[in-house]
Amino acid sequence: MTATSTLESQPVASTSSQQSLYEASTQYRHWRFSPKQLVDMRYALNSDAVSAIRNAFENDSPGSSASVAFLSAQEEYLLVKLYVGKVSQLCAHFRFPEEVEATAVTYLKRFYLKNTVMDWHPKNVMLTALFLATKTTNHPISLESYASHIPKTAPSDVLDLEFLVAQSLGFDFAVWHPHRSLWGIWLDIQTLPDVSLGDLQTAYEAATKHVRAARLTDAEFIYTPSQIALACFSLASPTLASAWARAKFPSLPHPPVADVLGSIEAMILREGSPPDVEAVREVDRRLRLCKNPEKIVGSNAYNKKLQEKEKKAEEKRIRKAEAARIAMEEGDPFGNELAKKAVEELDDDDDDD
């Protein structure tokens, strides 16, 4: 691995031959949005969730949803942001590498582009997202030891949500991170003439803090990792950042990234700090009253839903057994093509588990 190849793996501009690698990634194809798309998505997700949960309340006991103050999309966002910060605390506790932390944060944020906190509380999802990230970044630890380090957490609490989290991510496990690009920029600047290594080190450390702050924002959904990295460097040292950009794009009078840097920098400064704890506490207090009753283990609504599911599964088992019986009566379980087909059709999954 050389410095340049790392950098080019997360290119800043389309002039790089490596650009296509990033553009072929699931991150680029599935997880990039305009600011407006993000707002619309969250708004739609939230209003769908509210009406579904309102229904659940009404099913449980008619009229009961009238007094419930559901969370808004903005309030959901605040709560998630609080838990993004908590992922970092957990990672510090476990001494996980930055790769694990950054990946877990991305997973948590992506999860809530597909789910509502009123169904799944981020304090639980966070634990699963982090556990999954240890595996996808190739730093696995045993579930038992993981859970034992977290108060009031059993292995099953982590595992029960793993499938849901993986599904919500669309199984897109690979993530491109700004801290990697930042490291590439840092290596590159070392090779520029007339750079004081002391200044560079100070700038790099400051930029690293900005990269961490950027994790609390929507930057990763809007900009490329290398754009974010350069913006962070530019916040730390505009001089070094522009020296790097000039060296990188010598033929261009106006480096192609310059246009977006300002917006990213503003976003990091505006949104890159943890939410006000009092405000979030209030959101969390209300969440206790507007949680989806169907997701609360042991509640009436939950049990009802469970019973429906079990009834369906039971009916299917009966149909399957019937089909198998018919096949057996024909003498050979696999002789009769029709019966066999019937068995296979019903046999969608539980054949050997």
Partner: protein, 363 residues
């Protein structure tokens, strides 16, 4: 139903799972179809419930990397969905693999055929390496062959990315016969060169029609390598005696490759020798291999559709079951490659795989 569950159910409905065609240690493989188009696919169902640590690492690696890689010579992952506690990978359907092709004694390989397989292997591997992905389990059994003859690198259950330099990695990778000496001596900071060594072994196997370096144990593997290629000197491979698990394994003279590969062209042996260079730093890269004169000299690589492949025999099932033993007694296998990491020995594949494949021919 939640939006996420709904989306999953929609994905699931795109595919039909037809018939079981094979079984690995952590997965059952079905033949299936894309309902809209009738396209044939393979659905690899991974049982997740059985792992106490949840989704298992092989499955995670396979999904993680195949989601990102799209290349003609890398197996295509078409979709992923879950059902109950199972993870389903929808893969392009592939007729056979290079191990079966090599073992089929009725097939004759022309030099142009070998060149074609090698070119496709290097193309797929160059793409992986360009994406900072090490495969770490290349062997004929993991090079699958599509019906149009295209070779596809498959089985990314041991793959990892290497964009972060200086990370210690496990040396317990790659099936022994294809494992390079640096891993056998416990090197923990390795590179794309480990995959190139494996490709070199496959290259040789294509010419010999039998595994080139079939060691019986890890220690014997080093001996087998040195018996074939000579014991490395400090000039050949500076610093190798400092590797963590270094032990001297005896002095063997270098014999020219020409003595074993009597029919090969000079270009061919030159490329082979560059894949099997001891010093990983000097071993050829996939990119450079692709511009090696071997690929530009006559005979040109065979067109994939013209490559030899096992005949599709229309044999009734019962009869096939009786033939398992015959099918499994492939020549040239001197020992089981013991394999702590992999799900199954490739010698076991011999007894299950041909049957699994041929089940499919009775359609």
């Amino acid at each position: 139903m939640d939006a996420v569950e709904k989306a999953n159910a929609e994905r699931q409905r795109r595919w039909s799972k037809d018939q079981k065609i094979g079984e690995g240690t952590y997965a059952v493989v079905y033949r299936g179809r894309e309902l809209a188009t009738g396209r044939k696919v393979a659905i690899k169902k991974i049982k997740v419930g059985q792992f106490k640590d949840g989704l298992d690492m092989s499955a995670i690696r396979e999904v993680k990397f195949l989601r990102e890689l799209k290349h003609q010579n890398v197996i295509e992952l078409l979709d992923v969905f879950s059902s109950k506690k199972n993870l389903n990978l929808v893969l392009e359907f592939l007729d056979t693999d290079l191990e079966l092709v090599i073992k089929d004694r009725s097939l004759v390989f022309l030099p142009a055929d070998i060149k074609s397989w090698m070119a496709m292997t290097f193309r797929g591997l160059e793409f992986c390496h360009r994406n900072f992905i090490l495969h770490r389990d290349l062997k004929p059994n993991n090079l699958l062959i599509a019906s149009d003859g295209q070779l596809k690198i498959a089985d990314f259950g041991l793959a990892r990315d290497f964009a972060d330099p200086g990370y210690k990695m496990t040396c317990q990778v790659i099936t022994r016969w294809y494992r390079p000496p640096e891993l056998l001596w416990g090197c923990r900071y390795y590179s794309t060169a480990v995959d190139i060594w494996s490709v070199g072994c496959i290259f040789a196997e294509l010419m010999l029609r039998t595994p080139y370096l079939p060691g019986e144990t890890d220690m014997d593997q080093l001996k087998t390598i040195f018996r074939a290629l000579g014991t490395p000197t400090e000039t050949d491979w500076p610093g190798h005696t400092k590797l963590p698990d270094y032990v001297p394994v005896g002095q063997f003279p270098k014999t020219p490759l020409r003595e074993l590969f009597t029919a090969a062209s000079t270009d061919c042996l030159n490329l082979l020798s560059q894949c099997l260079i001891y010093d990983p730093k000097r071993r050829i890269s996939a990119k450079d291999a692709l511009s090696h004169p071997y690929f530009f000299a006559l005979p040109y690589p065979s067109h994939p559709s013209k490559l030899p492949k096992p005949a599709k025999k229309d044999v009734p099932l019962e009869e096939m079951d009786g033939n398992v033993e015959m099918a499994s007694s492939g020549p040239g296998v001197k020992a089981n490659p013991p394999n702590k990491l992999k799900r199954k020995h490739s010698s076991e594949d011999l007894s299950s795989r041909p049957v699994a494949r041929r089940l499919d021919f009775s359609k």
